[in-house]
């Protein structure tokens, strides 16, 4: 059990059965009055974000969250299959649970699956991933249009901006947290 005085940025609390991440926190106490614990919360199930103010006497349950290291096997339709390499146990996540991480998920990738009450609710990917460029406009040497980047499509269907010299068929490293291009990788 948490009380309002435990609130701080990064704390995970449970409200009305859902897990929430405290993304912003401020303690306020205007003019000898009651203490206010002002938070910005993100629902860890649906990503909805909102502001809420708590008082000293408010209490919260600790959400039953756990992380499990697993390997991504394959996806079929909107189902994503993962396996625990220790006991070969498998779980399935849907497209909504995987969220934007679908852009960087490749077969055999090892990830951490976040579980709430033993149900998968999200993923933590490695910080970077190498993906094949499947579509890119050719680089015109001597192009003086002044453009510093161009869009390319990678094997997952994700589109990002890269330097003009990146060509179709090349392997590039991408930051999974920001979605940005890092560098070219030699195959």
């Amino acid at each position: 059990m948490f009380t309002a005085s435990d609130l701080r940025k990064g704390l995970k609390i449970q409200i009305d059965g859902d897990p929430y991440l405290v993304v912003d926190f401020q303690f306020a106490k205007p003019g000898k009055g009651q203490a206010l614990y002002r938070t910005k919360l993100r629902n860890m199930l649906n990503g909805n974000q909102f502001e809420r103010t708590f008082r000293s006497n408010d209490k919260f349950d600790r959400p039953a969250l756990a992380e499990r290291h697993m390997q991504f096997l394959y996806s079929q339709a909107d189902e994503f299959h993962f396996m625990d390499l220790n006991n070969y146990e498998q779980i399935v996540m849907n497209r909504e649970q995987v969220g934007d991480d679908v852009n960087f998920l490749i077969d055999n990738m090892e990830v951490d699956v976040l579980l709430f009450n033993d149900r998968p609710i999200g993923l933590t990917l490695p910080n970077s991933v190498n993906l094949n460029v499947t579509k890119a406009d050719p680089w015109m040497k001597g192009d003086t249009s002044g453009s510093d980047t161009k869009p390319v499509t990678v094997q997952t269907g994700y589109v990002l901006q890269v330097p003009p010299f990146v060509e179709e068929g090349e392997l590039i490293q991408i930051d999974t947290r920001t979605g940005a291009y890092i560098t070219r990788v030699k195959k």
Partner: protein, 306 residues
């Protein structure tokens, strides 16, 4: 955490404060910081130590000194308030309080104006020469030219509150509306004096003679931050005891055990002439004068660094 440069600036602020009050004929006093019975206030929780309490403010002893015949006194001391920690709160902090007899809250408002003009002149360096007195906070200029804006709590709720003052009080939303809707507007172009608080929110303040719905209490705001809280003192022991009992009941309703009734204070109150007193948060003042964004950057150590 302040290191040599910042500590020098803080030292200059403390010296300028003492200089101001001495030049105005105030006596600097020291009173015990450990008390058997702190002022019962609903939302200020004292720290217990060996059966007694660390002071949450030197208020009661300061007023007993007025009752004993002092006219103008000030003190710069440490206070403790349990559970208060944020970007503008430390559970142990430095307070400046000054008290004067035969005065009311309007005199204290004028004191605030003069004190800041003195601070700007003493600390402002080149800026103080020539141009009008001002502070630079977060890249903006806050003019100290008198008179400062004076706005009643009722006016402020009417102007900025998403709900009326009456509704806010009835629904226990006073602090929330003040904090969310009103405070960000206060003290932007120049300092603001928010005054005439609802009677229930001034446990030790005198009620206004022509409007007993409000207490003669005010807060000084600069850049949206509460810097000082002052009021005309309640000098009636019977009324004061009644209010302390009500505050203690609120403390119990919040699940805490109040301390004992401060009897020697109530006994002395009968001898207190008309008076006014004010508490100013020194760490917040340093924060403002050093132009830093958190109270952590205005003190030598935060509790987390110990």
């Amino acid at each position: 955490m302040l290191r040599p440069d910042g500590l020098k600036k803080r030292d200059a602020v403390l010296r300028a404060l003492r200089q101001f009050f001495h030049s105005q004929g105030y006596l600097e006093v020291e009173t015990p910081i450990r008390l058997p019975a702190p002022a019962p206030e609903a939302h200020i929780e004292p720290v217990r130590t060996d059966g007694w309490f660390l002071q949450t403010s030197p208020e009661l002893c300061m007023k007993r000194l007025l009752a004993a015949g002092c006219d103008k006194i000030f003190q710069i001391c440490r206070c403790w308030r349990r559970g208060e920690r944020g970007s503008r709160h430390l559970p142990e902090f430095t307070m400046l309080e000054w008290y004067r007899t035969h005065s009311d809250y309007r005199d204290l408002m004028a004191d605030c104006e003069e004190l800041f003009l003195h601070l700007a002149a003493a600390l402002g360096g080149e800026r103080a020469v020539g141009g009008p007195p001002a502070l630079t906070v977060d890249g903006r200029v806050i003019s100290l030219t008198r008179p400062w804006e004076r706005i009643t709590v009722a006016e402020a709720f009417h102007r900025w509150g998403q709900v009326s003052l009456r509704t806010a009080l009835a629904d226990n939303l006073f602090e929330e509306v003040l904090c969310r809707d009103i405070e960000p507007h206060l003290g932007q172009a120049g300092p603001a004096l928010l005054y005439d608080y609802p009677a229930a929110l001034g446990a030790l303040a005198r009620l206004k003679a022509d409007d007993p719905q409000v207490a003669e209490r005010f807060e000084l705001y600069i850049n949206g931050i509460e810097i000082a809280n002052g009021f005309s003192e309640l000098t009636e022991p019977v009324a004061q005891r009644r209010r302390f009992v009500a505050e203690m009941e609120t403390v119990r309703s919040l699940g805490r055990q109040p301390g004992p009734m401060p009897e020697p204070f109530l006994a002395d109150l009968a001898r207190l002439p008309p008076a006014a007193g004010i508490a100013l948060g020194v760490d917040r003042l340093v924060m403002l004068l050093l132009d830093v964004r958190t109270i952590d950057e205005a003190v030598s150590f935060t509790p987390e660094e110990l």
